[in-house]
């Protein structure tokens, strides 16, 4: 491919050439050794002006250009998503308008729904009619009640509640209370499989528990992480596994820590995951991505899309010690 002739490089060459020319001019004036005082004063004033222009050029042109360049290169690498639409020093109003247009074309809402769809149970793939599913589950529950098998009835009811929450509610934000209820329901279903091997608890570190429970968070934030903790952390653990959700509220953040004492992850794996989580990765939202390990990234993407890049998930893990997934969200009250 032919090398592109970048405009910024041309500006650089031009700036360097102008500087060399000015320096040469100043040098020529100085070595002239003129006896005239006026010439000396003129050359000194010229030097001061030249130095001032150099400083001004560095501070007001070069530095902003480099900053813009940095933001663009981070956007290209996928490390930053939002900063490019709000450049502190846009090149021109046209460029700013162009970026704003891109922002509209990218359609944030579409990204959110694509991302959410993936976390809404890939097994279903939208091929099953939800009402057909609920009716069938209700039918099974009724048969189980008639037959006197309470456990099957309870399990079916829990499963129906779980699917109703997962598929039917279309809102992006739900209350923390609803999310926790969904997690508890999910834990109830898992208990049929794991029995006493799986323990679950929720704790609060805040003044007013009721106020925290009313906070709004993206729908299906907690359950995919709990599922991850069970399948990747606790399932392979020998003995009882403990799953904990700790909720902390500060003046500006809602911090939810989902911890398991399972098998944990190695240093490099944790590093890699946290690197992908630190910024919005749009490629993860594509339909073709594999399911494995994508749940955390999807939840993270949704948080960043809804609230901004400063929020998201951070993972702490150590082999044979467990994994903590820390979700940082803004405090949004209904």
């Amino acid at each position: 491919m032919r090398n592109k002739r970048y405009l910024l490089n041309r500006i650089r060459y031009f700036a360097v050439a102008s500087m060399i020319f000015m320096l040469a001019l100043l040098l020529a004036i100085f070595i002239q050794e003129s006896a005239y005082l006026k010439v000396k004063i003129f050359s000194t004033v010229l030097t001061v002006i030249f130095l001032f222009l150099m400083y001004y050029g560095y501070r007001e042109i070069y530095r902003p250009l480099m900053l813009n360049n940095r933001i663009k290169s981070m956007f290209a690498k996928g490390d930053s998503y939002e900063d490019i639409y709000n450049l502190e020093y846009p090149l021109s109003s046209e460029e700013q308008a162009m970026f704003q247009r891109f922002f509209v074309l990218l359609d944030k809402n579409k990204l959110i729904s694509t991302s959410k769809k993936q976390s809404e149970y890939l097994a279903l793939q939208n091929q099953i009619n939800p009402h057909f599913l609920y009716n069938t589950l209700e039918g099974i529950r009724a048969e189980a009640v008639i037959a006197g098998v309470d456990t099957i009835a309870e399990m079916t009811e829990a499963l129906a509640t779980y699917f109703r929450y997962t598929i039917s509610q279309v809102n992006n934000l739900v209350s923390l209370e609803e999310e926790l209820a969904n997690v508890e329901n999910y834990y109830y279903i898992q208990q049929f499989r794991f029995g006493d091997k799986l323990k679950f608890s929720v704790s609060y570190d805040c003044d007013d528990e009721y106020e925290v429970l009313r906070c709004q968070i993206p729908k299906l934030t907690l359950q995919p992480l709990v599922e991850n903790a069970i399948y990747h952390g606790l399932e392979q653990k020998i003995g009882t596994g403990q799953l904990t959700i700790k909720i902390t509220m500060t003046d500006c953040h809602l911090i939810i820590m989902i911890s398991d004492d399972g098998i944990g992850m190695g240093k490099e794996q944790v590093k890699k995951i946290n690197e992908t989580l630190r910024s919005l990765r749009l490629e993860d939202a594509s339909e073709g991505s594999s399911r494995n390990g994508i749940a955390v990234r999807n939840v993270n993407n949704r948080i960043k899309l809804l609230f901004g890049e400063e929020y998201g998930i951070y993972i702490y893990s150590q082999p044979n010690a467990g994994t903590d997934a820390e979700i940082t969200l803004p405090v949004v009250k209904d």
């Binding site: 900053l67 490390d79 003044d207 500060t250 003046d251 500006c252 590093k271 946290n274 630190r278 903590d324």
Partner: protein
């Protein structure tokens, strides 16, 4: 509702190609005591630099009291309201406490000083901290604990809402530790956040709200109060618990013996160590160590009682420590025991001529020393200047030198005062090897930390005299003594 004082969000900081903070995230709330165990010293220094000043970062954002103060897009080098209290005092020794608190502080722009008003303000702060002190007293007369409280009061008056306590176990004696923790609780009541940086996580168990483990530029895990037990920490830290040091059976005559030693601070001190024995002198109120070292090095001769070194009174012996086959290391030997401009081999063989009682060492001898330590230190042996070595490599050189000199007695002041977790583990291994080779080791410390894993006996000293002598099976009661 808790107010966040500091928040680091995915911060990455690189310098000269090395990454010191790598996607680093953490937060501290007001009135919180957050413990920080750092595995690496350099990374910790970078974190402290970033907490104090908004230096350029490669990625992430830093918030101070909810305000974005630093990001990868803009770092303005401004200073944050953070105060670090470490072993070096930031107070001017010849001025009074009040002058230090008010006059010697940034932002104090008054031409006429109203002393009465200043005194009232200072007294109010000290009352809030429940600390009674004469404000006209000179700072030079303060004890370590008092100095820490005065510095904290100064920081509070400056508006700092985050205080960093850097390795307090290095300076605070075992007896004062309880007071120090009480003081942290008073700061907590005033909504001042404390970042308690310490190498020993178990010291922080009783006081911290959370403990963060900092390693490889990231927070590896944040431990909540319910996880404050060794089992939870075990997978993360180098465990010395299963460490089995060779226990000496105290065979043979004592190599060093202190009989009824008395001077200014020391009162009838008795102590003896046999070959291969390791004794820890726990100077619980931090009064004896320096004076004892002065006596052993011959700087102080005005004392009563006797010090027998290999059966001979050192007062009657000529020569210095080397002639008595004694090596004394202070708490920072990488600075005081080594010559930074000299090569590794020169450092290793310095004074070896005196030890061997030869005026000139033959090149062939030095060559064989080089070959001998090549196995231990590798290419480092040929290093021309040791200034660029890491802390652990410098400690390696110090302990190689000790093993080359093979003294009868090794005396170390606060052996684990410097160095990160790995470095301390290394020192422990080297001391264990020296002990097994039959060297008598005397460890002088004000706080029992890793010395526990090495000592055959702990002599607890208070008010200059022995109050109790503990054997390994009795080490558990140390905390109950104070």
């Amino acid at each position: 509702m808790k107010k966040e004082i500091v928040r680091f969000e995915n911060v990455t900081r690189q310098e000269d190609g090395a990454t010191y903070l790598d996607n680093f995230s953490f937060y501290i709330c007001e009135g919180e005591i957050l413990g920080l165990v750092s595995v690496n010293d350099r990374e910790k220094s970078e974190l402290l630099k970033l907490l104090a000043r908004n230096l350029p970062i490669d990625f992430g954002r830093i918030y101070f009291e909810g305000r974005l103060v630093n990001s990868y897009l803009n770092s303005d080098y401004t200073v944050n309201k953070v105060y670090t209290i470490d072993e070096k005092s930031s107070l001017i020794q010849d001025l009074s406490i009040a002058d230090n608190i008010f006059v010697m502080r940034p932002g104090f722009r008054k031409y006429v000083i109203n002393e009465t008003v200043l005194m009232e303000q200072a007294l109010r702060v000290f009352q809030e901290l429940s600390f009674d002190i004469n404000l006209n007293q000179r700072v030079s007369r303060l004890s370590t604990m008092e100095r820490i409280i005065v510095e904290a009061a100064k920081a509070y008056l400056m508006g700092c809402r985050l205080l960093i306590f850097l390795s307090p176990e290095k300076i605070i004696s075992q007896a004062d530790y309880e007071k120090f923790h009480q003081f942290l609780l008073k700061l907590k009541k005033l909504n001042v956040a404390s970042l308690y940086i310490c190498y020993h996580h178990w010291i922080m168990f009783e006081i911290c709200d959370r403990i963060a483990l900092f390693s490889s530029g990231r927070i590896k895990r944040i431990f909540e109060k319910k996880d404050f037990h060794q089992t939870a920490f075990a997978p993360y830290v180098l465990s010395f618990e299963g460490y089995k040091a060779y226990r000496c059976q105290a065979a043979g005559d004592p190599i060093i013996q202190l009989d009824n030693l008395s001077s200014i601070a020391i009162q009838h001190l008795n102590l003896s160590a046999g070959p291969g024995e390791c004794i820890t002198l726990l100077d619980s109120d931090n009064q004896v160590t320096d004076e004892l070292l002065d006596i052993l090095t011959g700087l102080e001769t005005d004392y009563e009682g006797s010090i027998l070194c290999q059966g001979r009174d050192i007062r009657k012996q000529k020569g210095d420590c080397l002639d008595r086959s004694m090596i004394i290391l202070d708490d920072n030997p990488t600075e005081t025991f080594l010559f930074q401009e000299m090569s590794y081999l020169e450092n290793l063989s310095f004074l070896l001529d005196r030890k061997l009682r030869k005026s000139i060492l033959k090149p062939a001898f030095l060559h064989s020393v080089r070959n001998e330590y090549y196995r231990e230190a590798g290419e480092l042996v040929d290093e021309r200047h040791i200034g660029g070595l890491t802390l652990r490599e410098k400690y390696g050189l110090i302990y190689n030198k000790i093993s080359l000199f093979h003294p009868k007695i090794l005396i170390i002041k606060k052996p684990f005062a410097y160095g990160d977790m790995r470095c301390r583990n290394y020192i422990l291994e080297r001391l264990k090897a020296l002990k097994e080779s039959g060297i008598s080791i005397l460890l002088l410390t004000n706080y029992i930390t890793d010395c526990l894993y090495l000592s055959d006996r702990i002599e607890v000293i208070k008010n200059g005299q022995n109050i109790v002598s503990l054997h390994p099976e009795e080490y558990g009661i140390i905390s109950r003594i104070f």
